[in-house]
């Protein structure tokens, strides 16, 4: 498969997965909460295509796209959202709390920052050559521990790529109401080189990320990639307070699938889509049929 086809497969897989989640949620297939990645697929696909074996990824509440682009299994992720024994974390974590191989996510905004830095430093000390990617949203940049972590990463030369996905909104709060100054300035303050890109084009993001990874692997110390992006869907489910016309416009102008899909032959593109559709449908069906977890470990402690 060509690089472009592979990239498109990633984008389509994430999109199809998330659409399935949003479709199935109201039907009661899932329990709890979820945050879908629709509109931002090019970030995960473009960035994580550069991972080597052994590299680490720390992700946040909006982690499905990161997880799938990391190579995570769609069935295991569906199963996790359904609270099944076959889920990524056996149903314990749910949508926001995933761990598989070297992929970790947590639902407390910003809390992963020092942990990612520590993990990166550990890999460096162990001489593993692994680098660490940390995904943060614009909203998470409100958390103080992120700045403590930038400082330490910079001082101690942690091989971390901070990827800020600025979708211009945090839950319902536009970035202008929550962020003084600039994202780039936040990294400059700690002497962390930052590259900024406003794009939904997976190839562009892939290229920019490639340069960052190359630097990261050759010279010690953290770097940042600020990706201005667009969230098409609700924050969670049905909680989008933005003007529908604005979202239509985003979908029309910034769809990573449209943008990158245009590079493929129509026939190749539809073939990929068909394959992805059936893979995701199969994953969903398998997860649905999977068993519930045993709850012996979760007996009450009150005696």
């Amino acid at each position: 498969m060509s690089d472009d086809a592979a990239l498109y497969t990633q984008l389509a897989t994430i999109r199809r997965f998330e659409e399935t989640v949003l479709d199935a949620f109201p039907k009661g297939a899932f329990y709890g909460t979820t945050h879908t990645y629709i509109g931002q697929e090019a970030n995960a696909a473009g960035v994580l295509a550069h991972l080597h074996d052994g590299d680490l990824v720390f992700s946040n509440h909006r982690c499905h796209g990161h997880f799938l682009a990391y190579g995570g299994d769609a069935r295991a992720l569906f199963a996790e959202l359904m609270g099944k024994a076959t889920g990524v974390c056996g149903g314990i974590g749910g949508s926001q709390h995933l761990h598989w191989k070297n992929f970790y996510s947590n639902g407390v905004l910003g809390s992963t920052a020092p942990i990612a830095v520590g993990a990166a430093l550990a890999e460096k000390r162990k001489g593993s050559q692994a680098v660490t990617v940390l995904f943060l949203g614009d909203g998470a940049m409100g958390e103080g521990v992120v700045y403590e972590s930038l400082n330490i990463a910079s001082l101690w030369g942690a091989p971390v790529l901070f990827v800020v996905e600025n979708n211009h909104i945090a839950q319902t709060t536009p970035t202008e109401l929550a962020m003084a100054g600039s994202l780039a300035g936040r990294f400059a303050a700690f002497n962390i080189p930052a590259v900024e890109l406003d794009s939904s084009d997976a190839r562009e993001i892939y290229a920019a990320a490639g340069q960052e990874f190359a630097q990261l692997r050759s010279t010690p110390g953290p770097r940042a990639l600020i990706l201005h992006t667009a969230r098409f869907g609700p924050h969670s489910k049905g909680d989008d307070t933005r003007d529908p016309a604005f979202i239509e416009e985003l979908r029309a102008t910034r769809d990573p699938l449209t943008i990158h899909g245009a590079r493929l032959e129509e026939s190749e593109r539809t073939a990929i889509e068909a394959e992805v559709d059936s893979a995701i449908a199969a994953a969903y069906a398998q997860a649905e049929a999977d068993p519930l977890p045993e709850h012996a470990a979760y007996v009450k402690a009150g005696y």
């Binding site: 909460t33 709390h97 909203g139 977890p293 009150g302």
Partner: protein, 338 residues
Amino acid sequence: MTSVLESLNQGLHAAFAQDARVYLIGEDLLDPYGGAFKVSRNLSTQYPDRVWTSPVSEAAIAGVGAGMALRGLRPVVELMFGDFSTLVADQLINSITKFPAMYNGAAQVPVVIRTPMGGRRGYGPTHSQTLEKLYLGVPGLRVLAPNTLSDPGDLLRRAILEQNDPVLFVENKVLYPKQVLDNAALADFEIQASTQDFAPTHTLRLKGAPRPALTLTAYGYMAELAREALTRLAFEHEIFCELVVPTQLAPLPAGGGLQPALQASLQHSGRLLTIEEGTYSLGWGAEQLARAAQHFGGRLQAARRVAAAEAPIPAARNLEDAALPTLEDIISAAREMV
């Protein structure tokens, strides 16, 4: 009828209307969203300059609230999930609650920190906890938890306006859609109400029931389950209980005493079952049992707690159900005690 959510929202509106010193700070407060659980709905529309939607900076908004309170305002800080109260622990423990005493009485910090707690919604390990137990033993902090037996909004309003302690106001998420109960809904019960400062405690027993053999105590949403347990224990097992439901969780009486309503109930039952949604060890129930043991010594014949498993709260529904205390847990614990 009014839901707990509506009542809390009305309480906030009443506080805003009554006193121009009232402000609200928190994440995603602006209408039409009105806060993640909608307790703050319509406030930003009616009081646009007194509702400040904030960055995702829990520690700072608690501190900003503290600074405003220190300077004579009456701020309310909304933490989107009680799980994130850990991020304000330092502000709460080393500043907010310290200032009044550490500054020798010359400062007051009447900030109310409101937050939803609790599970049963499948939100998973970092969005489902009942963490107030961490703060119940913090000197100088008043911790309040509304329930359906009295007016949650009024409790909130009075916490904001009528006293000068810093307050942690804990709202169980599952309680939000529940109705505040009127006399009709409680017709089966004989109810005694008392107050600690302005915070009510209710003691319930079934009308016409014999002298209680067991005292149950619970707060917040667990009081709902406890009330149901009380009825079922009577009708299905002929175990007659009394249920004590405080809204003020801290401070408890100085000197290690029991809350008067609880003491009164134990005086005749001699058996105490505490019921809480937080994890087991070092929780609210532990303190109640300890005080009961201190006060009654050998006259406390049986003591027991129902609480959550000592583990993260899982996302999967069947696991979450297994981790959190249920009606059946209360009933079976009670049955083993008498």
